[in-house]
């Protein structure tokens, strides 16, 4: 009798569970901060893909470019035990969340579609935790880019600079001609974005890795770092006096309008150029920070999947699969201005700069020169990153000399660990 009752109870429980799955299959809730025009359009592609599979999309946009507000919302949701299905996130933040034990396991889908073979190792470092897939990379941006107004360069007879000294000479020429040489916005993250490229240009990938990823005090305070800060000082002299606090897209606009010649910014800047109907190679040029050819400092937006219970899991898996499909990776990244996170996507739909970036990403992955961007939280945790920001911005705004900055950098990094 007892056994019988137990069995029926079990059967009822199983039935309840399965019907639960069938009912809830159709929805994912996604927390993100892609609210600006181009980004929202790119995300719409994913929304439509999922709708075709019968999965409805509960949008949870939290505006604010860097995602600070979004993270505050996420903290509240997770603490309340009600996390969203997927959250847009970057770099070490993902691993910080993984450590809290609140993320889902995507190994089954990953194995089925063989993600391990197509995603570069450097990116996998953030998509996997403890050997398990926890997130799906949507795009790859890189930070060591220079954007230039080709008309300005042509009118002054400046060729694309290949070395750092060429670059400085070119900027001097622009400055002498009465234009702003370097368009930039004085916000800590923008200064740090330039610093990525500058450090790489001084010491190459080994030095970059030692300083920012291994956080070796000898590299952080060494003569090469002093040289990097000196180069930041050189760049400072080519910036207009009114730079502080300016947003990055306004700096891009200065280059587009021809008021300024160069901008050192990640490839999200390309979107601004394209939206202003500028053509790569005709109106503007894209090239790697002089002296960093062949190296790529990347940051990659990922959808981090949270533990949502059995009922929601099929929808979550379907979303992860849709994000990783080559067709979506191509169409999304064409719109967003970044490159696909898997290396086997055909580059036919991309523009000249995009094709170049895809080839460079593949090569850098093979040569081991694909490095996480310090400025965008892919080289070290948020606490260390911000400690480096503090020193870089204090140096750029004249509070620290180059030697002093290197010394402070060692101290600040040690204190943040």
């Amino acid at each position: 009798m007892r056994g019988y009752l137990g069995k029926t109870m079990k059967a009822v429980a199983v039935l309840a569970l399965t019907t639960g799955v069938a009912r809830a299959e159709g929805s994912v809730e996604v927390l993100h901060w892609w609210t600006s025009g181009g980004e929202a359009a790119a995300l719409n592609v994913l929304k439509q893909d999922l709708q075709k599979e019968g999965i409805s999309w509960k949008d949870m946009p939290v505006a604010g470019g860097g995602g600070e507000q979004a993270m505050t919302v996420l903290r509240a949701r997770v603490t309340a035990g009600d996390p969203p299905t997927a959250v847009q996130m970057l770099g070490y933040d993902i691993l910080d969340w993984a450590k809290q034990g609140v993320l889902a396991n995507l190994d089954a889908v990953a194995k089925k579609d063989n993600w391990d073979a197509v995603v570069p190792d450097a990116i996998k470092k953030f998509s996997k935790y403890d050997g398990h897939w926890i997130a799906v990379p949507v795009d790859v941006h890189s930070t060591n880019w220079v954007w230039a107004n080709k008309h300005v360069l042509d009118s002054l007879g400046i060729a694309q600079p290949k070395t750092w000294d060429d670059f400085i000479a070119a900027m001097q020429k622009v400055k002498d001609a009465g234009k702003i040489a370097l368009a930039m916005g004085g916000q800590p993250w923008q200064e740090a974005t330039m610093f990525d490229g500058v450090v790489l240009s001084v010491g190459g990938p080994e030095f970059y890795k030692k300083a920012f990823i291994d956080l070796d005090p000898a590299a952080l305070g060494g003569p090469q770092m002093v040289e990097a800060f000196k180069r930041m000082g050189q760049l400072r002299s080519f910036v207009d006096p009114n730079f502080s606090g300016r947003d990055w897209n306004l700096a891009s606009a200065m280059v587009i309008k021809g008021d300024a010649a160069f901008q050192m910014m990640g490839d999200w800047a390309k979107g601004e150029f394209l939206r202003a109907n500028q053509k790569p190679g005709v109106d503007f040029e894209c090239f790697r920070t002089p002296g960093t050819e062949g190296d790529v400092t990347f940051n990659s937006d990922q959808f981090v999947m949270f533990k949502v219970g059995k009922a929601q899991q099929p929808a979550q898996d379907a979303m992860a699969e849709a994000v990783m499909s080559p067709a979506f990776q191509s169409s999304f990244n064409v719109v967003k201005g970044s490159v696909p996170a898997r290396t086997d996507v055909p580059d036919t739909a991309f523009d000249a700069c995009g094709k170049m970036a895809m080839a460079q990403l593949k090569a850098a992955d093979k040569n081991g020169t694909l490095l996480g961007s310090m400025a965008h939280g892919h080289a070290n945790p948020a606490a260390v990153k911000n400690a480096i920001y503090d020193v870089v911005t204090a140096n750029f705004n004249g509070q620290y000399s180059a030697e002093q900055a290197a010394k402070e950098l060692v101290k600040a990094v040690a204190l943040a660990q």
Binding site: E68, M71, T72, R75, V78, T79, D93, D96, W97, Q100, G186, Q187, P188, P241, N242, F243, S244, G245, P381, A382, A383, N386, D390, T393, A394, F396, N397, G398, Q399, E408, A412, L415, A416
Partner: protein, 297 residues
Amino acid sequence: MARSTAIDMRTRLQEWIPKIVLAPSVATTLIFVYGFILFTVYLSFTNSKILPTYGWVGWHNYWRLFQLPMWSVALENLAIFASLYIAICIAIGLGLAIFLDQKIRGEGMLRPIFLYPMALSFIVTGTAWKWLLDPGIGIEHTLHLWGWTSFHFTWIKDSNYAIYCVVLAAVWQTSGFVMAMFLAGLRGIDNEILKAAQMDGASNWNLYRRIIIPQLRPAFLSAFVILAHLAIKSYDLVVALTGGGPGWATQLPATFMYSYTFTRNEMGVGASSAVIMLMMIAAIMIPYLYAELKEPK
């Protein structure tokens, strides 16, 4: 008999109703203000990073806090900002109040004009002043267009002077409010005393210096306490006006606390800075409350 119990019930109800009505707000205040203050104090002794965790680390967060150059900059800025802000607001507020008290025409119109900035939020004030002070679009640009091209006013872009821009905007915002407080104080002074003093031949200057201003002591005290706590918790103005920059030249303890707790995943250090801020406010408020509560006896 029946009537007396009804009255009894009524008086008892009258006794209880205020307590019942107040109970929810007392409970919520206890939990959401004092409970969370205790929680924050507790967090400041833990190794909390991205979410609250409960590993005890003793005074380590405080030790780290006082090693951070940004925290010392924040404290220095607070000292500059608070002292100038309080002093200038009181001086301007008192001056305006005395002028308005001369029975001038149009006082009814002038008073709201001076008081109006207080109706704006600090975010609006900060954004408006950011544009005014920006050399590219604000005052400097306008004067250049008018032909005064040698004029330079780039404080907001200069690490050494940007904090004074914060003072400027904050003073503009609150001095009208301080004026209103002093004006109320001035109106409360007994006219008989003033007449008596005038009959004794006191000059206007002496009248103010020896009789009126000393009588404004309570107004001074209230103004000081209100301005001091506004200064310590001031956050939105800095965020809107300078974003803490250039570099981190205008960070204040409040902006420091937010950035460490919510953007740097250093909740422990953020909590310890919040505790220090609480202690600063307590150092001002407790003597004030003590004096206030003692006086009526």
